[in-house]
């Protein structure tokens, strides 16, 4: 297994700047997930590693060897495609052994490698069938098996689970986790699904518009997102954002106002937040964004902002409940719902119905604060 180093990688499609100065260092045996919205460049980056796309600048090194200018068939990487890309005219056995056959390995070696891969993936019964006789999940296993037999230095996965139905997807996620543990291989995995990213990755790279937003372990990114984009991207339902303004600051504590938060008692309440040690203090009157995760709302009275509203939508998931709250003129900013509802997550079953009055509290200790997309304050401890 090998390390994978991406240095100052740049790619242009004519005038379109698809990848901008990408720097990622991947340890041997890591499971790195590239995640981001459509068009962020994650697939382009993966294909550049594979050699299926040329690069305009920068380097890609595997195990210290610069492969940026080498043809894909000489790079020693294997890729699992979203559409499986199995050769329709060959059997599963032939599909899996093809690369070794091209490398002119003796038949005994090929057979052994194919058998081993088939056992790992539990598809021995399909070895002599053709792809069209297989189900989606089986085809995906064959595609993975084809990669395994080659014993590549790096495995690349291009949204391999996107074409599977939901139940199969969860199943395959676990399979891939088991596979990674068993093989100890270096894997780079592309997905647009943040659940896959959170559950499978040892580290996540969040990409947007061709740039790296942040790299870190799933919990690091979840608890300490460096940018508002990352904060909103990871976690489902999305973090709730409120547009606020700095009323005043005292030392490293800022007091915030938000419009429409008048409790009717005459004076608008403020939210006092302690900034992170190395964050710059915003000036009074500066616009900021407050973020609160759906699971972090507090009940009952106390310090902080009180949100009063009515239940707009209830999603009862058995184990959890999701409430989407309509708080009248106060709208959530850049939220999941078009109407600007606040998403509240509770780990219990609730008897709530559309139209019920509901009230939740934003505790300043459980809040994220963003100044111009940069995070300047985090919750005191990670909430569950």
């Amino acid at each position: 297994m090998a390390t994978l180093d991406i240095r100052n990688l740049d790619k242009h499609y004519g005038a379109f700047h698809a990848l901008r100065d990408i720097n990622v260092g991947i340890e041997s045996g890591e499971f790195l997930v590239l995640v981001g919205p459509s068009g962020c460049g994650k697939s382009t980056l993966l294909r550049a590693i594979a050699g299926l796309e040329s690069v305009s600048g920068g380097q890609i090194l595997i195990g210290g060897r610069d492969i940026s200018r080498i043809e894909p068939f000489d790079r020693g990487v294997a890729m699992v495609f979203q559409n499986y890309a199995l050769y329709p005219h060959m059997t599963v056995r032939q599909n899996m052994g093809f690369a070794l056959k091209v490398a002119r390995q003796p038949k005994a070696v090929i057979d052994a490698a194919v058998q081993r891969a088939a056992e790992i993936l539990r598809i021995e019964a399909q070895l002599d069938k053709k792809p069209k006789a297989l189900s989606g999940g089986q085809k995906q296993r064959v595609a993975i098996g084809r990669a395994i037999t080659r014993s590549p230095e790096v495995f690349l996965f291009d949204e391999p689970l996107s074409n599977l139905d939901a139940a199969l997807r969860s199943q395959m996620r676990i399979e891939l986790g088991r596979l990674h543990a068993q093989l100890g291989a270096t894997m780079v995995y592309v997905t647009h699904d943040q659940t896959e990213a959170m559950t499978m990755a040892s580290r996540i790279v969040v990409l947007r518009d061709g740039e790296v937003e942040q790299i870190g372990s799933p919990l690091e990114l979840y608890n300490r997102p460096a940018r508002r984009f990352v904060a909103g991207f990871l976690g489902s339902p999305r973090m709730n954002f409120i547009q606020a303004r700095v009323r005043s600051s005292t030392g490293r504590i800022v007091s915030l106002d938000a419009p429409h938060l008048d409790t009717g008692a005459g004076n608008a309440p403020s939210l006092d937040i302690t900034l992170a040690p190395d964050a710059a203090v915003p000036a009074p009157g500066a616009p900021v964004v407050v973020g609160i995760r759906p699971e972090a709302f507090a009940d009952g009275a106390g310090v902080g902002w009180q949100l009063n509203g009515t239940v707009a939508v209830v999603e009862s998931l058995g184990r959890d409940t999701l409430l989407y709250i309509d708080t009248g003129p106060l709208r959530a900013f850049d939220s999941e719902s078009l109407e600007g509802y606040f998403a509240v997550h509770r780990t219990r079953q609730m008897d709530a119905r559309h139209g019920d009055a509901v009230s939740v509290r934003i505790d300043p200790r459980h809040v994220y604060l963003f100044d111009d997309e940069r995070a300047i304050a985090w919750p005191e401890r990670a909430d569950d």
Binding site: D10, K11, H12, Y13, G14, R47, G51, L52, E53, S54, V55, S56, G57, S68, R69, I70, E71, P72
Partner: protein, 314 residues
């Protein structure tokens, strides 16, 4: 920075591009193998299609004698001659007659038959399709000869049939009577080619998803209404292509006439193709024949371009 994603051993095709390929698997490595793969096709087409086309255009401005090196520049004489030649205009008119007649008969009936095979009959579609299409695999010469015999005044089946019904038969014969000979030929062409139109349009009809008809039924539209609002728009492109193919065919017609009337009687069935042949190979007026060929070429190229533009849009 320059695109440089391959070693010198495997060059990238189209090195004139800057910025590298856009998501395409690399084809044959190197300019050499690209040329090798393209050259035979390009070579053959240049020599046997492009070159003769150019020669025809050039040759139309010359008087060409019997010895092929005997070229005398004649400017636009050949074209002027065509303008003044009544037979040229008769031929052109006959072509147009065939074109319009073919479009109406072949595309018209083809559409009717296709519609029937698509949704009009529950069973037997393949059998009918096979039968009706079969004349297309016979050479036009064979078709012409078959009908020549059928239309023969003495031993032909048609005369016997018509007489037995008490109706009169044409005194000069079906193909010998200038007033009806072209029409008869049109009908023979229809016999052969309608199946082709039918299959073409049928493919277009079958491309319309059934769900559209189901949704229409729920909306209360069936039968002819559905035909007008779903079927016709759905096959619009195929119909246009069908009309264009028939039109091009109508201008290219040669075999049928050559095998039956050779342009007679008295130029009643003369068309561009046969007239060019006659001028070139029977009378030796190569320059004149070239000029008329160029006219035909221009018509064909314009129609061909139209056909491809429409096909591309589909």
């Amino acid at each position: 920075m320059r695109a440089a994603a391959t070693t010198s051993a495997g060059g990238v095709v189209a090195a004139s591009d800057q910025g590298g390929q856009g998501g395409q698997a690399r084809p044959a490595s190197g300019l050499g193998s690209t040329l090798f793969l393209l050259l035979p096709a390009v070579g053959l087409c240049t020599v046997f299609i492009l070159l003769p086309a150019l020669l025809a255009i050039v040759g139309s401005f010359f008087e060409i004698g019997l010895g092929s090196t005997d070229w005398r520049f004649a400017g636009l004489t050949n074209y002027a001659r065509a303008m003044d030649d009544p037979v040229f205009w008769i031929a052109l008119r006959n072509n147009l007659f065939i074109v319009i007649g073919s479009v109406i008969l072949q595309v018209g009936f083809g559409t009717v038959l296709a519609a029937i095979l698509d949704r009009g009959i529950p069973k037997g579609g393949t059998v009918f399709r096979t039968i009706i299409f079969a004349p297309m695999v016979m050479s036009t010469i064979a078709v012409a000869l078959i009908w020549l015999v059928i239309l023969d005044p003495n031993v032909g089946a048609l005369n016997t049939l018509v007489k037995s019904m008490g109706l009169p038969t044409p005194k000069l014969g079906w193909l010998g009577d200038p007033s009806i000979s072209l029409g008869i030929l049109l009908l023979i062409a229809m016999w052969q080619y309608t199946g082709f139109m039918m299959v073409l349009i049928l493919a277009g009809l079958q491309g319309i998803p059934k769900e559209l008809y189901e949704a229409a039924t729920l909306d209360g539209a069936r039968g002819l209404t559905a035909f007008r609002h779903i079927t016709l728009p759905g096959i619009r492109n195929v119909l246009i292509v069908a009309v264009l193919i028939t039109t091009i065919g109508g201008f290219k017609v040669f075999d049928l006439i050559f095998a039956t009337t050779r342009g007679g009687p008295a130029n009643a069935t003369q068309v561009m193709g046969t007239y060019i042949y006659q001028q070139a190979f029977n009378l030796g007026n190569l320059g004149y024949a070239n000029a008329m060929s160029v006219v035909l070429l221009i018509i064909a190229v314009i129609l061909g371009a139209l056909q491809l533009r429409v096909s591309r849009r589909a």
